[in-house]
Symmetry: C2
């Protein structure tokens, strides 16, 4: 029955997908639940039947976007099976693509900026997801045979994070335009040790 278009998927999925998109574009505090449900072709009551609050919806959105990010890493493994160094370079290229095609940065980082209450339930999730991302990059660096894998991974992480922020402040022609060169020479210098 539901073999057709994703457009006519179940309301919960539509809400989740639409919310991710709208939170990403307009920010969490910049979009209300009414706007989300309308864009998703449903209504507020249905949203609150599937999510107990907006905060809960935010958390589910963050988990969903993180899952999409994890899927990209799996693609790297599929494209370069066993070749961790090639996967690392694929990651660099992927990041460059994101910087060029999207000007709204990382959803998790943006959420951390917007949700300033230290005890906000989403903050814990953000930390967990970001730490998982870091662990995966560290593993990739280590499995690529790089000494000081943690330091390289952390440096690349900061460059990445900084680039995504820089795109939002000065655009993609700013410092982030040099990301590939920075990352590649960094990887080269770590490999040379």
């Amino acid at each position: 029955m539901t073999d057709g278009v994703a457009e006519r998927s179940r309301p919960r999925d539509r809400i989740l997908e639409t919310a991710q998109d709208m939170f990403h574009k307009h920010g969490i505090k910049g979009v209300g639940v009414d706007a989300i449900t309308e864009a998703a072709g449903t209504n507020k009551m249905t949203l609150y039947r599937h999510f107990e609050s907006k905060d809960e919806l935010i958390i589910e959105c963050l988990r969903a976007t993180a899952a999409k990010g994890a899927a990209v890493w799996d693609e790297f493994e599929a494209e370069h099976p066993g070749d961790k160094l090639a996967q690392l370079h694929a990651w660099v290229r992927k990041v460059a693509d994101m910087l060029a095609s999207d000007s709204r940065g990382c959803d998790m980082a943006n959420a951390a900026v917007e949700l300033t209450e230290t005890d906000h339930p989403a903050r814990r999730v953000i930390k967990e997801l970001k730490e998982a991302q870091r662990d995966r990059l560290v593993s990739l660096c280590r499995d690529a045979g790089i000494g000081q894998a943690e330091l390289l991974a952390d440096t690349l992480s900061l460059l990445f994070e900084g680039a995504r922020v820089s795109v939002q402040t000065v655009g993609s022609e700013g410092p982030s335009a040099q990301f590939v060169r920075m990352a590649e020479s960094l990887i080269a210098s770590f490999r040379a040790r």
Copy 2:
């Protein structure tokens, strides 16, 4: 709560100071003008006599914080007159101090995250101020006798920006903890070529 009210200055100055502090702590959309004026020991009408809108207040706050940042650079020059390399290292130490003592990142970057409308009046100001920051760091690198000063400055910028974001997502014990090490070895490698 602990919103210090500079009691004996003019209302406009108190509002500006208080707004900077509250925007920094709670975010721009997380603070209403009523809360600002109350914390500043005044009232909403007085705010609107000095600032034509909240957006205008936001812009003035961004300019003020940028001016404070510029003053720090002047301190470096005063502490290490003519020694541009020492000033660069002082900058690295200063950044590390900020990362350790403040968990709310850069006001300009945070504002860019929160104010998603592409035509928001503050966005132009943010871009100008960030470009001025970059220019100053480039000049410092160049005057320190470093070849490829632009590339070093941009790399340091991204590391800095990324570190300030990382502190917000995973805390000061995350990747940003290695900032000094990253920056110092970067500077060394650029000087060595």
